[in-house]
Amino acid sequence: MKHVEEFRDAGLVKKALADLERTVTQPWVIMEICGGQTHEIVEHGLDQLLPPEIELVHGPGCPVCVTPLEKIDKALAIASQPDVIFTSYGDMLRVPGTEEDLLTVRAHGGDVRVVYSPLDAVKIAQENPDKEVVFFAIGFETTAPANAMSVQQAHHLELKNFSVLVSQFRVPPAMEAILGSPLNRVQAFLGAGHVCAVMGYWEYEPVAEKYSAPIVVTGFEVLDLVLGIKQAVEQLEKGEAVVGNAYSRAVTREGNIPAQKLISHIYQNCPRAWRGIGEIPDSGWCLQPEYDFYDAENRFDVGQIQSKESTICIAGEILQGLKKPVDCPAFGTLCTPEKPLGATMVSAEGACAAYYRYGRTRDG
C-alpha cells in the first residue's frame, strides 16, 4: 500500500534513528499521549532502540483505560435492564466493572451487541422500535465525529428509542493537567496524529507556550514516531517550545472543519473524570442541552452505584507518566489482561497490556 510500507521501512527507520542520535546531547523525557502509539512503540521495541538519553513515558490516551469505573458500572446496569439492546465498540466488552463485565451481562441473557460504527447502533434502533437501544459513546476526539453523527442521525430520523452513554474525552486539558502537576517529569509531548487529524493543532499552541513544552503532532508508523521524537528533541535541545507537525501527510493546523462543526453542534465542553487520574476541568464533551433527550444517563434510572477500585493498582501514576507498568508489584502476577486490576491492563492499548503482551520485565 502506498505510503504505508515506506513508513515501516527498517532501512529508513535506521537512518532516522542515526539522525536522532546526532541531535541529542542530554537526557529528555517525552510522553506519547496516544495508546495506539504506546502499543506500536512497545511492539517494535522502539523505546529500546532510541538513544539512551531519551526516555519515553506513556500517556493517558486510551479511551477504554480512562473511562471511569462508575461509568462502566452504569453501562452494566443499563445493559442488564429488560428491553434494552446495549451496543458498544468491541473493546469495552471485556472491561471489568466492580462486579462483572458486559460479556457476563450477555451470558446472563442481556442483549449486548458489538458495533463497528455508531451508525450501526442507529440502524439497530430503527429495526427494533419496541426496544431501547443504547450506544456506549466512548472515545477521544477521533471517535467524536462518528459518535456525534449517531445522535444527529437519530434526531433526523426522529428515533425515540435511541440514546447514548457518553464518555467522551479531550486531549489538551489532560496535557495541561500533566504539565501543571508538581510531580510532572514530562518535557515534551508527541501529539496523537488521529486526534489532530480531526481537531488540527491550533488548540495545542497555547499549551506549548504556557508550559514551555514542545508538542509534536506524530503519526503511528515506526518511522513517524522516530520523526516525531526527532522534532521534539530538536526543540528541547534548542530551548524552543512550539507545536510541530511530523504527520503533515494527514494533519493540518486547522484540522477537519466539517467534523469540528458537527462535534460542537452536538457536544459542549464539560468536566470529565479520568479513571486513575480524577476529574479534569473541561476535559470532556457532554451532549448540548438541546440533545439531552438522547442522554442514556437521563433516560435510565439505575439507582445508586457503588464502584470499588483496586487498592494495589498504580494505573493513575502510569497514566500521568510518573511510573512504568513494571514498577507495579501486581504487574503480570495479580494483574494480567485476563484478570486486570485496573485501567492500563484492561485495554489492548493500555501501557500495562502492551508491556505484558510483548514480554517486558523489570530488566527491560
Binding site: 502506498k2 487529524a197 477537519n256
Partner: protein, 76 residues
C-alpha cells in the same frame, strides 16, 4: 458512504467529513468514518527530507556519499 479498500478487504465508509474525496485517494478511517485524506505530496516530502539528511550525515561521518544500496528506498 463510499467503498474503501483496506489492503484487500473492501468496506463501506462514511465520507461525510471528507466531501472533497475522489476515487483513488487514501484516507485514515476511524470507526467507519474517514477523518482525513492522505496528502501524498507531503508524504513524499517527509521521505525525501529524510533521505537528504542522511546523505549529509553520512558525509560528515565518513567523508563520502552513501552507496547505491544504502540509498535504496521504498519499492526497491
Amino acid at each position: 458512504m463510499g467503498k474503501l479498500d483496506f489492503g484487500g478487504v473492501q468496506r463501506e465508509v462514511c465520507l461525510e467529513y471528507v466531501p472533497e474525496a475522489v476515487v483513488g485517494q487514501y484516507a485514515n478511517v476511524h470507526v467507519g468514518f474517514a477523518i482525513n485524506l492522505m496528502d501524498e505530496k507531503e508524504a513524499e516530502e517527509t521521505l525525501s527530507l529524510l533521505r537528504e539528511i542522511e546523505i549529509l550525515g553520512m558525509m560528515d561521518e565518513e567523508g563520502s556519499a552513501p552507496s547505491a544500496e544504502q540509498e535504496s528506498g521504498p519499492g526497491q
